[in-house]
Symmetry: C2
Subunit: 330 residues, 2 copies
């Protein structure tokens, strides 16, 4: 169980340890003969370099840490796809941690990556206070994805949440809806912007905003929809803060005997795979999550390798995806 070290390989190959190090990393200053001998010895021994030691000596890990706010939210794996593809192409590893929707866990996930001295950290959907992120960013490059925040030293990457909400709300208004309720994302990442976009659109059309507070979870969608439906207030459409809360609302609407979109139209946000299921067919907003993931890596790399110090704030335009949960009001 005790693993062979570089010394073992060196001894077996009849060369010095330093040469093994060079040979294994394909340095040009190693003769072919040595290279072959070293490789052979390493293979025979089943040698695997100890990254812990390598990193301690070289001061870099070539690893990015990805903190996902909630592994259960199908939005995030899409971001992870983009991150992985780009990281892979650039020769970086990616390690993931989930915050499990808990701020304390999120904080410790961030600390763990810092303590592991990863070369860069991607925070997605983070709910940590901006100050905490700023502080952490002083010791490692951090890029915050899908969580709008203004900062001079941490990079951010977002879809335009406000615009997305405007598209969603505008779509409902155009269909003829006047009683549109917004189940918001509470203090979730981007929730405030989506709420603002909703409110602005409503006002622009002379309609009164009606926000029921929620969170980015299915359970909160259930609770919020129950409140909205139970209020007795006229209601023909709901714009939920994200897809999973929309799904919660969908359940409640149907349970109440109403049908979607016949009685009530419903819009989500994120365009997750669940929204795309024909059986659900939820009208929603696409953020471009994979692209955000890729951009996150690029942003990190040009800070690390390019030495950039000024923060970048990139916002990409979302698009409305119209499916079958929206129709003119009854």
């Amino acid at each position: 169980m005790t693993k062979p070290t570089m010394d073992d390989v060196a001894r077996r190959a009849g060369v010095s340890r330093a040469l093994v190090s060079l040979a294994l990393r394909d340095s040009p200053k190693v003769s072919d003969a040595s290279r072959v001998a070293v490789r052979a010895a390493a293979d025979e021994l089943g040698y695997r370099p100890n990254l812990i030691a390598r990193h301690l000596a070289s001061k870099q890990t070539r690893t990015f840490g990805l903190v996902i706010n909630d592994l259960h939210n199908p939005y995030f794996p899409g971001v992870a796809d983009g991150v992985r593809r780009a990281a892979d192409a650039a020769g970086y590893r990616m390690l993931i941690q989930s915050a499990f929707l808990d701020d304390v866990v999120e904080r410790s996930a961030l600390d763990t990556f810092i303590d592991f001295r990863v070369d860069g950290i991607i925070l997605t959907g983070a709910r940590l206070p901006a100050a905490a992120i700023e502080a952490a960013a002083r010791s490692v490059p951090i890029v915050v994805v899908s969580r709008p925040m203004r900062s001079v030293n941490v990079d951010t990457l977002n879809n335009d949440d406000r615009l997305g909400a405007e598209l969603a709300t505008g779509h409902l208004v155009e269909l003829g809806h006047r009683h549109i309720c917004h189940i918001d994302g509470g203090d979730g990442a981007g929730a405030a912007q989506r709420r603002a976009g909703y409110e602005a659109t409503m006002r622009r059309h002379g309609l009164e905003p009606w926000v029921v507070s929620g969170a980015f979870t299915e359970a909160s969608g259930v609770a919020a929809a129950e409140r909205a439906l139970g209020s007795g207030r006229p209601l023909t459409a709901i714009f939920a803060g994200n897809d999973v809360s929309a799904l919660g609302a969908l359940d409640v609407i149907e349970e109440s005997g109403r049908s979607v979109p016949h009685d009530i139209s419903l819009v989500g946000y994120d365009n997750t795979f669940v929204a795309a299921l024909r059986h659900v067919s939820l009208t929603t907003v696409e953020q471009g999550r994979e692209r955000l993931g890729e951009l996150a890596v690029e942003t990190l790399i040009n800070r690390i390798e390019g030495g950039r110090t000024k923060a970048i704030h990139h916002v990409i335009p979302p698009t409305l995806v119209v499916r079958h949960t929206t129709a003119p009001p009854p």
Copy 2:
């Protein structure tokens, strides 16, 4: 950006480096005065211990690596929940990597964890050859979850896939179905056992098994259902290898103008949150995924700390969750 080291803290607190090390880890053999002084110095400096260095010196990382076969499959986050809870309670960190359904990526995820010298690895839904896992298990404790395999040196934890498939198929038979097609999981983890359970149940009832090959993805469910429906063969029920492939099948069935469960009954496997959505309400099989995650950690810990060397193979009984996608045949 250059971080303070333990030496900096020691100097500032006016003590030796070793004492800082002890104080920061709450060793009882440190005076209160020193402890306070060290903590203060560390805080003022914003000191964070370098885990890389700590691990190199202590030969352990107190970290488990979790390799998830497919981050997009909502089954896995449930396992991760269980792992995290148990790991947390035992004082271990958890790092995640996704294989993104790709065997090569899965292999490199495993290698990365080995190279990082994590204390234990949990493979869930892995499709790697058993031999590769066995080999890796020689250098680090590995427990394989949701992937049946017989082995003398690697621990496994599974629900009884065969039994689960028998429950699912038996349920359909009891409802009166005779033309039941199984969309299998191809070479996915546990797919063979589920297929066997289906076939055995069919034969036991004098029915002819009909397996259409698939995989554990939505896209494969779509393709397989199209083939089944297009075959012209009588068909009143489908038992899909897992929930996401069932969802793919559901889309195709409805697209063909048939309704579920009126024309065709449908059963999945995994009881993911999507199956539970009232709007989907998929009859499925619950594996007990969180429990599997917790057990995985316990298994790893009693091997690491308890010094166990004989492999454990634990199988837990699945349960059928009947919802609204199953009904008697038309």
